[in-house]
C-alpha cells in the first residue's frame, strides 16, 4: 500500500534551526524534522500501526495526540509503553512497536525454597 495518508501541511520555518534527525523504527532508518513528536515523525513516514492491543490483539495507531488515549504506545530505547505523542523525536532513537504487555523480569530475592 503506497497511499500517502499523512504529509506535512506547511514546512516549518524553524526546520533550518532544528534540522533533520535520523532514527530507527523496527530496524528501518527514517528521518524527520527535529522538534516534532515521535508520533508525528512516525506518521510522516507512513507508519500506520504503532502497537497491538494487549487485550484484543487489534492493531492500533495514534488517536488523540494529546496524551489522553494511550493508543500510540511504542517502545523507545528499550523502554516499553511510552506515549509517542508526548515525546519529542531525537537523533538516534531506536523505536519499536509495542507488542502486548510489559513483561517484568522477576529476580528472586532472599531464600526462595
Amino acid at each position: 500500500m503506497n497511499t500517502i495518508l499523512f504529509r506535512t501541511l506547511q514546512a516549518d520555518s524553524n526546520t533550518a534551526k532544528t534540522g533533520t534527525v535520523s532514527f530507527e523504527f523496527e530496524g528501518r532508518l527514517l528521518t524527520a524534522p527535529g522538534g516534532i513528536s515521535v508520533a508525528a515523525a512516525l506518521m510522516q513516514n507512513q507508519v500506520l500501526q504503532f502497537r497491538d492491543s494487549p487485550v484484543s490483539g487489534q492493531p492500533r495507531a495514534p488517536y488523540c495526540q494529546m496524551g489522553i488515549c494511550f493508543e500510540c504506545l511504542v517502545q523507545i530505547n528499550g523502554v516499553q509503553n511510552r506515549q509517542a505523542c508526548m515525546i519529542t523525536i531525537e537523533e538516534g532513537m531506536k523505536i519499536r512497536m509495542q507488542h502486548g504487555q510489559t513483561a517484568f523480569t522477576i529476580v528472586q530475592t532472599g531464600d526462595a525454597k
Binding site: P54, V55, F70, Q80, N81, A103, F104, T105
Partner: protein
C-alpha cells in the same frame, strides 16, 4: 407524575444492585441517578471482594461479608448470562503483607478475635517470606510476612456497574439518568420524589442508595444517616504480563494485565483531588512489596470518596417515622453486591432476613442518653 412500586435513589453499584435485585423479585422499580456529576465511588474503588479483617468487634458484619463473598459466584454468572457483561470475579484468596512485627502482631490479634466471635469456618494462615514466595515470586525483601485467607477475591468494578445497570434495564427497571433528587414528600400514604429535572415520581416505597447523599436525603423521611466522606487514592499502572495471581490489600493485577495500586485513607472532606506526596507514598509501599514495579509506568491516578459510617460498617434501616422508606449504604458496594442483589430486596419487599439485617440499624449510633430522652 410517574407512578411505580419502589423508587431507588442512587444509580451507583449499591443502587443498581438493589434496583436489579428488587426487579428480580418482580417489583416495579424506578431508579433515579444523579448522573456523572456524582462523586461516584462506584467508578473510583479498588475492586476487591474482601473478607479478611472485616467485622472486628462486630461479628454480624463478618458473617454478612462472608455470605456476600460466597454468593458472588452466583451473581457473576447470572449477570454474565443475562447481560453478556462478565464482571471478572476471581476468588483465589487474598494477601496482606507486613514490613514490621508490630503490624503483624496486631493483625494476628484481629484475626483471632474475629475467628473466635463467629460460629463458622474462618480460615486464615500466616506465611513466612519463603512461603509467600512460592505463591508470589515477585515479593520483595522488606516483607517479613503475610496474612492469607482463601475467602478473598476481586472483580472489575467498571464491568460490574454496567452489568447491574444493563440487567436492571432488561428486567424492566425505569432507569432515569441525570435526575438528581431534590425532595421527598409523603402524600396520601405514598412517597413523592421531586428531581432537579423537574419530574415527580410516586411510589409506595423509597430506598436511599445515594452514598454520601443519603445524609441529606434521610432528613426527608426521618432517617438518621451519619455518613461522611473518607478519601482514598489509587494509581493505575501500564498493562503488564501476569506477575501477581492473587489480590492483595494494596496491589492487584486485573484480568487484562492492568496493575492497580492503592490505597490511602484520609479525612479531607468532599475533596476528591489527588496529592503528589500521597501518591509517592502509595507508590513507595507498592515498590517495597514488589520491587519489580519500580520500572512500571503509571498511566492514571485518581482519588475517590468512601462512604463511611461512624464505625465503618453498613447502615440498613427502615424509617420508624415513615415506614416504607429505607436506607442501604456502605463503603463496600463491590464486596456486598451479592447481598444487595439476593438478600436486601427480600427484606424491603417482605421483611425477610430481618434478624440478619437488624444489627446494621443506625440505632447503634445513638448514645444511651439520647435514646432514653
Amino acid at each position: 407524575m410517574h407512578n411505580t412500586d419502589i423508587i431507588v435513589i442512587g444509580g451507583g453499584i449499591v443502587g443498581s444492585s438493589v434496583a436489579y435485585g428488587l426487579a428480580r423479585h418482580g417489583a416495579r422499580v424506578t431508579m433515579l441517578d444523579e448522573g456523572d456529576i456524582a462523586f461516584r465511588a462506584s467508578r473510583g474503588n479498588f475492586g476487591l471482594v474482601w473478607v479478611q479483617g472485616k467485622g472486628y468487634g462486630f461479628s454480624p458484619y463478618a458473617r454478612w461479608t462472608m455470605q456476600s463473598a460466597r454468593q458472588w459466584p452466583a451473581l457473576a454468572s447470572e449477570l454474565t448470562q443475562r447481560t453478556g457483561i462478565d464482571p471478572f470475579l476471581q476468588q483465589p484468596g487474598g494477601f496482606i503483607f507486613f514490613t514490621n512485627q508490630a503490624d503483624m502482631d496486631a493483625r494476628v490479634h484481629l484475626m483471632q478475635s474475629i475467628q473466635a466471635s463467629i460460629d463458622e469456618k474462618y480460615d486464615y494462615t500466616l506465611l513466612s517470606p519463603a512461603e509467600i514466595r512460592k505463591h508470589i515470586p515477585a515479593i520483595g525483601p522488606k516483607v517479613i510476612g503475610a496474612c492469607y485467607t482463601p475467602m478473598d477475591g476481586h472483580a472489575n468494578p467498571l464491568r460490574l456497574l454496567p452489568a447491574l445497570q444493563q440487567g436492571a434495564l432488561q428486567l424492566g427497571v425505569d432507569y432515569r439518568y441525570n435526575n438528581q433528587v431534590q425532595a421527598i414528600d409523603r402524600q396520601a400514604g405514598r412517597f413523592v420524589v421531586s428531581t432537579a429535572a423537574g419530574e415527580q415520581f410516586s411510589g409506595s416505597k423509597v430506598v436511599l442508595c445515594a452514598g454520601l447523599g443519603n445524609r441529606h436525603l434521610g432528613q426527608f423521611v426521618g432517617l438518621d444517616v451519619p455518613v461522611t466522606p473518607n478519601q482514598g487514592q489509587v494509581m493505575i499502572g501500564e498493562r503488564c504480563a501476569p506477575f501477581l495471581s492473587y489480590p492483595t490489600m494494596h496491589v492487584r493485577q486485573t484480568n487484562e494485565g492492568t496493575i492497580q495500586i492503592g490505597d490511602s485513607l484520609e479525612d479531607v472532606g468532599y475533596d476528591d483531588t489527588t496529592r503528589l506526596s500521597l501518591q509517592q507514598a502509595i507508590a513507595q509501599r507498592a515498590i517495597d512489596y514488589f520491587p519489580v514495579l519500580a520500572d512500571m509506568r503509571i498511566v492514571r491516578c485518581w482519588a475517590a470518596l468512601r462512604i463511611m459510617s461512624p464505625d465503618g460498617m453498613p447502615i440498613y434501616q427502615e424509617s420508624a417515622d415513615m415506614p416504607g422508606a429505607y436506607v442501604v449504604t456502605c463503603h463496600s458496594g463491590v464486596t456486598l453486591a451479592a447481598n444487595h442483589v439476593f438478600t436486601i430486596p427480600g427484606w424491603i419487599l417482605h421483611g425477610e432476613s430481618a434478624g440478619m439485617i437488624a444489627p446494621f440499624s443506625s440505632e447503634r449510633f445513638r448514645v444511651p442518653n439520647e435514646a432514653q430522652s
